[in-house]
Symmetry: C2
Subunit: 619 residues, 2 copies
């Protein structure tokens, strides 16, 4: 992408002296400028160039470093590759192909800017994508249809009521959602609705275009933007950190330098606040702590979560207080068993809870990972030698103590709640509990909601360095039928989450069945595209002490879990008002557990990950 906080000059007049133009734009605080590379215009009826022998500027004007550091190549948009007139169409294809080739030739890893103002772009897309350019293609789209407020017919088509998002959506669908495409989104005087902005925030916005007429005169007589426009710009910056900015004005504009100055100041005053910045939209494979042993680095990362263990400690405190009345403080001891103790953070929480409440505890720390056991022994010897702690180096399902526990504490929950097999583990461990014993957590619930994110869709498609996005690896593993964990930023949430699966502990049923099946419905409020489902959980540790990554109730400061993501193999176009009906299954086998998912509306998809072929969690 264009470098962070890059501010570009987008002058609509063609600069005749490019070198002078570059100098001027740099002097005025811009990093790059948008410039056409073509000097001659073509007559689309005859296919002849008007005036001059040169098709374009000579590439000798600048050296290649200057070219790539200074210029974004604007593709002239007078052609019509989708004309019904064959001559115009063929001539358009020819000139466009030539322009793109030249841009590719002149500028290493070129950024090309191509304006689109119509739904009729099938052949245009074909020509653009067939060039197989190395660089990025920015599609210039207005945020609000410029003809929206004008009632009369414009040219051949009345595009007054077309949503420009549809121009973009059609273009990229014909182009197979190619990740080379991003948007140069032009702001208008009118600010769109919150919903429309959310939808843009789920798209690959490469740059915001700020036309000079949006600037108003401030109290200091300098140009500034209205507060709504500022907030709009900052919301894009917060979500898509690497977004660039283009000021659209004439290079002769006397406020040239003031525009860029103002924008830099605005961005510096409002730096990105997200502490997770850097993890945005990065695909992770979900952990399998049951099957695999976690490593030191992973333990360390989790242990530094400032919030999670505070909540556990609070839960244990409350449980101890409820369990041992004040009068019995001297005589009673609560037996706490920590299943999956890792390197001891829950031991710490339990010990703190004991001290704070004055209740006596006997701790068992059960852990299957021999390397973590090593650490636990060291901690006990060095820090807790005076505490009543027993370390059990076993899988919790294979421990058969004489003494049973009052409280079973565990942190076996994954981003999707039960996806690290907490149910299977705790079912096996609940024999450790007294009949009156409790589990912390006592319940966890998963949630899903439909999302649009081509960033994530393409990350998944392009995994494993395949030659083309539609390649699959040569085994039966389909990357689009696996679950991922992703910190989602550049994503449009199509609807709010709905409840999915729930598990309670201890599970006192005669016959325990951890398989699940649920059909969930959502409504679509705006035209968009479904690429998959995000997954979350919340867990009741004890009574009203809840850990949550559900977006509407996210525990503040909790960052141990990023949401889950379930892709669908083919994005589905959605119209406002469409119902989305999805089916999710949790399937349990002898050696593994997996999820399957499918869609029934608005179209029927096949069942993804049948038989856990592509993704499973191993017991």
């Amino acid at each position: 992408m264009v470098q962070r906080n890059a501010i570009c000059l987008y002058s609509e007049e063609t600069t005749s002296d490019l070198r002078a133009g570059i100098q001027k734009m740099r002097q005025n605080g811009y990093d790059k400028m948008v410039s056409s590379l073509v000097v001659s215009k073509m007559d689309y009826m005859t296919g002849l160039y008007k005036g001059g022998n040169s098709f374009s500027r000579s590439d000798l004007i600048l050296d290649s470093k200057e070219w790539s550091e200074s210029i974004i190549a604007k593709i002239n948009d007078e052609f019509d590759c989708d004309s019904k007139n064959d001559e115009i169409r063929k001539n358009s294809e020819k000139i466009l192909t030539r322009e793109l080739s030249f841009a590719d030739h002149v500028i290493p890893y070129v950024f090309t800017l191509l304006k689109v103002t119509s739904l009729e772009t099938t052949n245009l897309v074909r020509v653009v994508m067939s060039k197989n350019l190395i660089g990025q293609i920015l599609i210039e789209i207005p945020m609000v249809n410029p003809h929206k407020l004008v009632n009369d017919l414009c040219e051949e088509r009345d595009t007054g009521h077309e949503d420009p998002w549809c121009w973009w959506n059609t273009f990229r669908a014909v182009a197979d959602f190619n990740c080379k495409l991003s948007i140069a989104l032009e702001l208008s005087t009118e600010i769109p609705s919150k919903l429309e902005i959310s939808r843009w925030l789920g798209e690959p916005i490469g740059s915001l275009i700020i036309p000079s007429h949006l600037f108003v005169r401030g109290s200091d007589n300098k140009p500034m933007l209205s507060r709504p426009h500022e907030l709009l710009i900052l919301s894009f910056k917060e979500t898509i950190n690497e977004v660039a900015f283009m000021v659209k004005c004439n290079i002769e504009d006397m406020n040239l330098g003031l525009y860029s100055n103002y924008l830099r100041h605005l961005l510096e005053k409002n730096p990105v606040t997200d502490i997770m910045y850097g993890s945005d939209d990065v695909l992770q494979d979900p952990l399998q702590p049951l099957y695999d042993n976690l490593d030191t680095n992973t333990y360390e990362i989790f242990e530094t979560d400032p919030v999670k263990y505070m909540y556990y400690q609070n839960a244990i405190e409350r449980a101890l207080i409820d369990m041992i009345p004040t009068k019995d403080i001297q005589t009673e001891t609560a037996i706490i068993m920590i299943v999956g103790a890792g390197r001891g953070p829950l031991i710490r929480s339990s010990l703190n809870a004991s001290v704070k409440t004055g209740r006596k505890i006997k701790l068992y720390a059960i852990e299957k990972n021999p390397h973590a056991i090593n650490t636990l022994h060291a901690l006990v010897d060095e820090l807790w030698s005076d505490k009543d702690i027993e370390i059990i180096a076993k899988d919790m399902r294979n421990f058969h103590p004489v003494q049973k526990a009052d409280i079973l504490v565990s942190e076996l929950i994954g981003s999707f709640g039960d996806n690290e097999l907490s149910p299977e583990c705790l079912d096996g461990a609940q024999k450790l509990l007294k009949p009156s014993g409790i589990s912390i957590p006592s319940k966890y619930t998963s949630y899903i909601n439909p999302v649009m994110s081509f960033k994530i869709h393409n990350l998944i498609r392009l995994r494993s360095h395949m030659l083309s996005p539609r390649d699959r690896i040569s085994t039966s593993q389909n990357r689009l039928e696996q679950m991922y964990v992703v910190y989602m930023k550049n994503v449009f949430h199509i609807a709010n989450p709905e409840t999915l699966f729930e598990f309670s502990h201890p599970n006192r049923s005669d016959h325990i069945d951890n398989s699940r099946f649920k059909t969930v419905s959502f409504e679509t409020d705006i035209d968009c595209v479904l690429t998959g489902f995000a997954g979350y959980f919340d867990a009741v540790l004890y009574k009203d002490i809840v850990l949550s990554i559900h977006p509407l109730s996210h525990t503040r400061g909790l960052w141990s879990w990023f949401p889950a993501y379930f892709p669908i193999s083919e994005p589905i176009q959605l119209k406002k008002g469409d119902s989305i009906v999805t089916n999710f299954w949790r399937c349990t086998g002898q050696h593994k557990v997996w999820y399957e998912w499918s869609i029934s509306k608005p179209i029927i998809t096949y069942i993804h990950n049948q038989m856990g072929t592509h993704y499973a969690i191993h017991l």
Copy 2:
């Protein structure tokens, strides 16, 4: 599939003595019988089996050969895997899974029969498909909704107006169009419309079910079917040769043997007439005679076409007559150049035409394939030593004769007209023609129409012995973005063909451009599924002498060309009234020519085979 002309007995009552039942059915002229393997019924609320210890019959009743030769396993359909009641749903899943496993255990390569009467089958499909049975699954579907004539609500849902085709369509879509699924289609008293029958004829029908109540008493007092029913049955037999038949009646029915007798007689009296039988729906890669040399076997097959060379001969005759008036017969000689002469069939046609019309000809036979040249020389030496024939061992584009031709004859046309690069070849060869010279053919046109064929879709998906249908080969070649040649039988033609690309010869334009782009629209007359486009051509040899494989004007007896087939990567569900808008391009590069195609309505697909990555014809 079940063996050809297999007639099965489908008794709805469970036969208690299976061995006796098999004996009786064989005595009465049946090959197999449908039988439930399960004896105990389950209470779906409690999950308990009612009566008896055995879940099912013992597999010892018959030996495994008898099992597989005699029995089709009917899966009992009292369960409801899609019940909103969790208990019923889970118990249903359990019993269904067990029945399927048992069938798979008892009968090698088992055929299972499962009745479906609803759209709500998502979880049922999941359970059925997750068994990964080795054999085929026949989905029993009525051809006409039995409740159609009944107005009152039935049970929980008013399915009276649901089209049973939709029950099948939903089931197979959720099952990802798995090729293990086929239909056991039950005939009704009512004969559906011609359009509905055509649609069924495009589906994988494994068996027709003929309920005994359809039989009427004939003049000989024996049961027979009405003529419309006979014709219906025979139309299925003609299209899907391997379709089996099931007579649905009680095993105690006194006409048992008469039903099977009647059917056998009907089928024997009306054998399959299609001479292409055996090539049905078999995928072929299109030939590339320009790039590859054809082999002896291929030449031989083509030369035996009884019709094609007759047409060429007629065309040459007419051209000669028009070219040389009777008065000039003695003085004039027509120069005929055959470009791509192969092993000489067009030489033969030309010589015959000369004899028949009395016009003198001088022949040039131009051929690049050195092995064919070998044959030509032999033929000239042995058969045509007295004729004025010159053999030119060159690519036609590299031949520079002193004498120019009056007639250029070629047979470079592929199933899709220009797909063997006839335009490129003839453009290069037209310098051989006198200004007044003509080409035979003078023009060829391609056509396309949208089709539904899951047989073909699955053949393509399963190419190259991939592990699962959604696998792709590990290079960039997507099998669903290639053109095939297929003799289409088990196919539903959604709409009539429309014109696509046209080429005329000789092409006297200043600037020859063989690239093409066309957008074509079709209307959908009935709910169905689009899997791809069939392609055809017709070629004007001379004036009104036309060779055609366009289905509405197919030259009688012409079998040299099977239609072309352009798949789409994801089948598209269509509703009656939907427009299908498709875009086709013929793209010309320096070393190759290729087609690209995409769909704009009812949904947007990406452009298939962009840049000819997956399929191209090499120059």
